[in-house]
Symmetry: C2
Subunit: 208 residues, 2 copies
């Protein structure tokens, strides 16, 4: 896809939000939308949306707006979610279970392809059609299936160590559910999910 230099990360981060809204519009069987309508739904200015999209091409038509399916597909291509990504889940406690059962990954480009845990009691357990494997088998299995993305749902104390092993096994993107900032080499991407951090962010504003 040739040269795509220097697009701000904050712009990339908004594309999945646009995708999500477009997906809803497809379900609503809408055909066209405008930057203004999209912006109103998302609480984002229309100029912001137009400028974001302009980094990647010209997807709209003056007077008409954007064809929803077309724009949806274009953003999927940009984000590379017009294919399926395999995911390894490490740590199958309550959270890992919920992740393994979650039906929302598949329709948006992701497929949970392997489950790992270190607790001997959990090895062999069947979850959502997959068998929990020992962490010692992680590297081989990740290579065998060519898995590139991992979700980390182990306790905070073990997260860094497991992350190191994942990176050693070739993983280049980690979605970390443990409430700890990971140290990783610059070619590895990490994103964080910390519900408590979000809650704490909101309670700041709950002053009467």
């Amino acid at each position: 896809m040739g040269s795509r230099p220097n697009i701000p990360d904050i712009v990339i981060g908004r594309l999945p939000i646009y995708l999500r809204a477009l997906y809803r519009m497809i379900q609503e069987e809408k055909e066209y939308t405008s930057s203004q309508e999209l912006g109103e739904r998302l609480g984002i200015s229309s100029a912001q949306i137009r400028k974001d999209l302009s980094h990647f091409g010209e997807f709209g038509k003056q007077g008409t707006g954007y064809n929803i399916k077309f724009l949806h597909e274009k953003i999927r291509q940009i984000l590379q979610v017009d294919r399926e990504w395999l995911i390894a889940v490490v740590g199958v406690g309550d959270l890992g279970h919920a992740i393994a059962h979650y039906r929302g990954f598949a329709p948006r480009g992701f497929h949970v392809a392997a489950l790992f845990d270190s607790a001997p009691t959990k090895i062999g357990e069947q979850i959502g059609g997959l068998t929990v494997m020992p962490v010692s088998a992680m590297k081989d299995e990740i290579h065998r299936q060519k898995i590139q993305v991992a979700m980390l749902s182990v306790p905070a104390e073990h997260a860094q160590q497991v992350a190191n092993e994942l990176i050693g096994a070739g993983i280049r993107a980690i979605l970390n559910y443990a409430p700890i900032t990971l140290a990783v080499p610059p070619d590895v991407r990490v994103q964080y999910i910390d519900p408590v951090a979000h809650l704490q962010h909101m309670t700041y504003y709950l002053r009467s």
Copy 2:
């Protein structure tokens, strides 16, 4: 605690990150840290950390740095998590179950105090010491317990409607797990948890 005007939201959003790191340091029985050390752990510049904290007061000492417990407590006060917040969870599918069982809320200031679902088969179910109640009982129960925060884990199609009911019941902060942007009045805070959006953000960069 008087006037605290105009502090950028992006600064507020980093405070929970600092809190998380300080909490870890307390567990490691460290006593002092510096903006530089903290920054290295978090991948944030030391100047950024100092400037962020300077919005709220002077918490460090030249030559010494920050007393970890003291700074931790100060940030807890700023975020108002030096008390316990009660949370209502709406939607007890797999995700709602995982939330209800999650042990990570309590030590960081939050207590799941009520569970709601609309499916008659789920009403009455016991989860983590709580009984699932019907959505129709939501308003009364939220008032009775004076719950101010809610977590929304219902399907996307119902999220907006349930959010409306929550707001009608007096909820002022919503952590939304449904992959949809909610429309809410300006005095209601919403934060989003969408793992797939994070994954899609990362796959952008997975070009070889």
